[in-house]
């Protein structure tokens, strides 16, 4: 079990937020905190997710999100 901090830039839509959380669910990742703010005059959002789960799942999550056009960038900031 590991803890991760993941940073995601996404378009400002309910669907993008919902799909991100559904991916967190699919990865069986536990949620410790999620902070989401709007950026660029509200056109985009940036999210910081503090999650825990299996070792390879954070990498899976960022790669998975990048398959979908809602997400402009996704990266792991920290793993412990």
């Amino acid at each position: 079990m590991m803890r991760f901090v993941v940073f995601v830039e996404l378009v400002n839509s309910h669907d993008a937020v919902a799909k991100m959380l559904l991916a967190v669910k699919q990865g069986n990742l536990g949620i410790e905190s999620i902070n989401i703010h709007s950026t660029e005059d509200g056109r985009n959002l940036s999210a910081i997710l503090l999650l825990h789960g299996e070792e390879n799942k954070a990498e899976w999550l960022v790669n998975k999100l990048l398959n979908f056009p809602y997400y402009r960038s996704a990266k792991i900031l920290k793993q412990v």
Binding site: S13, K19, K25, E59, W60, N63, N67, P69, Y70
Partner: protein
């Protein structure tokens, strides 16, 4: 012009020539716009079938299939097909009507949040509330359905948005997020992979659906022939390489060919190409990984390590990556002589075929014999579709696909009812080719209304029903894992499938012999006419080989009485 007219113009520009769907209140402006278009709209009898038809079309035409439904139930009926398309990475664009903007969120008549409903199983879905964005969103959805790993998308259009006036929009290009460039092959990782290949003694190549989409067959064969490696396939990988090639051993996994399962058991390296390495294909990941190296090639980086941790991962388009890998491998090692292992495995496969044929006592018709006679009798570019169940497994064991895109089956979701509408969509995409749907009676009954479209639109498909009057695969599991406590798996004999087909306007016949079957099917294929053939097959058949769920390939159960222990090189535990 109305946004709906602008949308249809944009669809024409993209080359859309078919829309499979059903109109209703909320997508009527869209249908009204289609009235003035060259695009053929096919009136399906159920939206699920529209989505499957779009899948069949897409997999043959190699471009997105388009389907449509109205708001609420029309849209929700599409869901099974869209999830199916997501699981099998099939490009489909769904266009749904939505209630007018002012009514959204009020539980209005036929209001359903279709975008919310499909979100976990779709590449992109959006409700377009700004009429000036309709064309752009369609172009985006169409592009992203094909971009990198293909998949379904959906645009949801409130009725009032469709009728708003918008300026004529020409030459709209997808926004950058919707048309990402293919990643370039990573040469350092490719060199490492080539070294691993050279060091391996018993390499095997495993091909999945990604190898079919990227048309990587030539490169796969080049690699296989150079290193003398047998090729095995997942259910979705069938057809990526010609199955009559001596190195191709067929489908691996739960209901795989015995020689393919043995090849993986024996291997010290598996080169996995465009596969998500599902449990159906490889069994438990920990067993698959034990004692063998894994090279994984995939367009979707999230597949690396999802189920199996690769020794080397090679992101990118399978064909491009393989072209480089072949070059580097050839540079490092001379062509290997023919693999004795592959030869031996092929002999085991032949022994299995012979054994199965020897089980034919002439009293009842057997599914495997039906499949193997048909695959020999029909043209090599025949497109075959299947339902889900035992007949599908017999088809994957005995049908020989010679070209990519000739095998259409619901691999990931296992959707009964996929076969007939997918065959219909395939025929729309390739009207000059023979399209045969190998179906179970249970699967057929789920989507048989598509026969009405087969008749209406003169897109003749041949349906062969493996009629065992039961949900055979479930019955097989009850037989093997539930002490033969059969429950809700047998049909009564009252549904007359011949009359049913005729009621829809498609000629049908019940055959009593293999000769009769071959005669009617080849005649229908030659004359390009629609036909439904009801084939009463042995209701007690069990499909073997079978690897029990959760077990490693070594635990494969072979047909009772088929003994291969003498022939096996060293695979100890085969029962």
């Amino acid at each position: 012009m109305r946004a709906a007219d602008a949308l249809v113009k944009a669809m024409e520009k993209q080359g859309v020539d078919y829309v499979f769907g059903i109109p209703g209140g909320a997508n009527m402006p869209f249908y009204d716009a289609l009235k003035d278009s060259e695009i053929r709209s096919v009136l399906m009898r159920h939206e699920q079938q529209a989505a499957h038809a779009a899948e069949g079309y897409a997999r043959v035409k190699r471009r997105p299939g388009v389907c449509s439904g109205t708001s609420g139930p029309g849209a929700t009926n599409l869901i099974t097909g869209l999830v199916d398309a997501y699981m099998d990475s099939t490009p489909v664009v769904a266009i749904t009507g939505q209630v007018v903007r002012a009514f959204m969120g009020t539980d209005a008549f036929q209001e359903a949040d279709i975008v919310g409903l499909v979100l976990p199983h779709i590449k992109y879905a959006v409700t377009v509330k700004d009429s000036r964005r309709v064309v752009q969103e369609f172009v985006n959805a169409y592009s992203v359905a094909m971009n990198l790993r293909p998949g379904p998308t959906l645009i949801d259009l409130p009725r009032d948005v469709q009728i708003e006036e918008v300026p004529n929009q020409i030459d709209v290009k997808p926004e950058p997020q919707f048309a990402k460039p293919l990643p370039e092959p990573d040469i350092e990782s490719i060199k490492q992979a080539a070294r691993i290949i050279v060091e391996s003694e018993k390499p095997v190549i495993l091909v999945g659906g990604g190898a079919v989409y990227s048309m990587a067959g030539r490169e796969i064969l080049e690699l296989a022939e150079h290193i003398a490696a047998p090729i095995v396939e997942t259910t979705m990988g069938k057809g990526a390489v010609p199955e009559d090639h001596p190195l191709v051993l067929g489908v691996v996994g739960m209901h795989g060919r015995v020689e393919a399962d043995l090849a993986v058991i024996e291997s010290d390296l598996v080169v996995c190409i465009g596969t998500r390495l599902s449990d159906r294909a490889i069994g438990p990941a920990k067993d698959f990984q034990k004692g063998r190296k894994i090279i994984h090639i995939d367009i979707d980086a999230s597949e690396f390590g999802k189920n199996v941790r690769p020794t080397v991962s090679l992101p990118g388009d399978a064909r491009k990556v393989l072209a480089e890998l072949v070059e580097y491998t050839k540079h490092l090692v001379a062509k290997r002589p023919e693999s004795m292992l592959a030869k031996k495995l092929r002999e085991i496969g032949q022994a299995y075929d012979e054994y199965m044929m020897s089980m034919d006592d002439g009293k009842v018709l057997h599914s495997w014999k039906v499949v193997s006679l048909l695959t020999d009798a029909l043209p090599p570019d025949t497109i075959v579709t299947t339902g889900v169940g035992q007949h599908q497994m017999w088809a994957q064991l005995f049908w020989k696909n010679r070209a990519p895109g000739t095998w259409l089956s619901s691999g990931g979701l296992g959707t009964m009812g996929f076969g007939l509408p997918a065959a219909f969509g395939a025929k729309a995409a390739a009207p000059d080719r023979v399209v045969v749907n190998l179906d179970g009676d249970g699967s057929f009954l789920m989507t048989c209304q598509t026969l009405a479209c087969v008749a209406d639109y003169e897109l003749p498909v041949i349906t062969v029903i493996f009629d065992n009057r039961s949900l055979g695969m479930v019955k097989q599991w009850q037989d093997m894992f539930y002490n033969k406590r059969y429950k809700d798996v047998e049909y009564n004999d009252r549904t007359d499938l011949v009359k049913l087909s005729e009621a829809f306007g498609v000629e049908a016949v019940r055959v009593e012999s293999y000769d009769e079957l071959l005669k009617v099917v080849t005649r229908a294929a030659r004359s390009n006419t629609a036909l439904t053939v009801d084939v009463p097959v042995d209701a007690g058949e069990l499909v073997f080989p079978m690897v029990p769920p959760g077990k490693w390939l070594e635990d494969v159960k072979l047909p009772p009485g088929f003994d291969i222990s003498q022939r096996i090189v060293s695979a100890g535990k085969i029962s």
